[in-house]
Amino acid sequence: MEVKLRKVALISTVPVLLLIALSARLAIHPGQTWTPVRVELPVSETAFPSGRGVEITPQCLICHSAGMVLRQPPLTREEWAGEINKMRNVFGAPLPADQVDALAGYLYGINGRQDTSRPTATDGQGS
């Protein structure tokens, strides 16, 4: 019984392995054609939740979708301001300086760290 099953498995995997080997040859061997690749990247449908200051958030969406912001750990208002200023100073976000505080207030409002007894944990690197 076991032997039979193994045979069936072998028969079904051999053509697949051959196919894999052939496609690899096509792609990387001398004289063979590389195939152009065209893809479509999904568009995020995640929106920032409503709140005072939400009208500034389209500025964030120039460079990245909203989801990453919403998945961050809670931050103090100062830490959020630090992140916003990193986006401005390091990555060139065209956000006027006088909107930083309002945006930090918005982000703190939707995901604020209440416990301020410990020091700030983030080191502000751009990564």
């Binding site: 061997h29 590389w34 410990r118």
Partner: protein
Amino acid sequence: MHRSTLLPAALSRRRFIVRAGGMGMAGLFGTSTWDAMASTFVDLPFAIGHRELATNFPQKGAMILQRTRPPLLETPFDVFDQGVFTPNDRFYVRWHLANIPVFVDPAAFRINIHGHVRRPVSLTLHDLAREFKSLEIAAVNQCSGNSRGFFKPRVVGGEWANGAMGNALWKGVSLKDVLDRAGVKAGALQVRFNGLDTGVIPQTPDFMKSLGIDHARNGEVMIAYAMNGAPLPLLNGFPVRLVVPGWYATYWVKMLNDIEVLDTPDDNFWTRKAYLIPDTPFASIEPGQRDVKMIPINRMLPRSFFTNIKDEAVLKIGQTTTVRGIAFGGDAGVAKVFFSADAGGRWEEARLGPDHGKYSFRRWEVPLRLTSPGPYLFKVKAQNTAGTVQPDRANWNGAGFMRNVIESISVRAA
């Protein structure tokens, strides 16, 4: 035989097969059908860990969605139980800048080698494949911030669980041979790598990384045009990416099209100011500590994981179970893997699977029979051939880099 412990992984594998089957239908009936089927979620084991399992990224199966644009996609951990090589369509994805070419014509693609060289060179993919000796290396590609979501206290960044890593058999040519073609001049210090991706606005620093000239010429750093016997998925860097065995993935520049030999230290943002770690053992400091020398991230550390038993699993008393997982040594081979069923009181050496080279994942396994009921804390730790062992206490730094603490899972015997 060990059905009870294998059930969770087997179930999720079946779910994946069903979903992969559905993808074919999406091709036939359009994406809306597929999107409606794709609303599956996972909860990563930390606060704010709810994630969509996305199936709408090109050349990718089900991936944990960390960010849509630019894409950050995590490999669901079940995938690592299926083998030591991570399938291309489940390999994690990490981009810094959103202006990613969605069309690449291999016939028009060129890699330019210039800067502090005797003769600048422009190579086609055919040149690479035809005129240089090919080599293959099995190597783990791991994001510097893999496992960042587990940092305590939490830090900002991509909030990954443990799946921002993968192992592949990379095929390509040695960077050394390509540099030799251009003829590196005396006084060269670093080699800087740039890919086709750019920022959305011109003010954003282009993503570039540099390696020291000796490292770049060590014969192992390679320009890879194949991954597990197939072309790279576009989101993993098609048509070619840099492979830096043993080093964190930040250096593995994707869609690599520009190589510049420098005779002065690279002062671009991504090399000089980003991806810096404390110059301390395991890059670890205390939260809030500021008086520390920072250096560019570099060699990976050893890690090991359970793959067939999950946290909070229930094992049957008296039944023999194979506990298994994967390990890697970082910048050295896996020497030993140790397993403990009693929270680190007694360690037992695991049996290691086939060796695919010092930079690869390696399977480990231990047969286990629990005889008394109750809770158990399982631990696993790897020791690499340089003698480095995973630490008992989690390393911590403000960027969330290089986590490699001994992994633990809570198991109950009943």
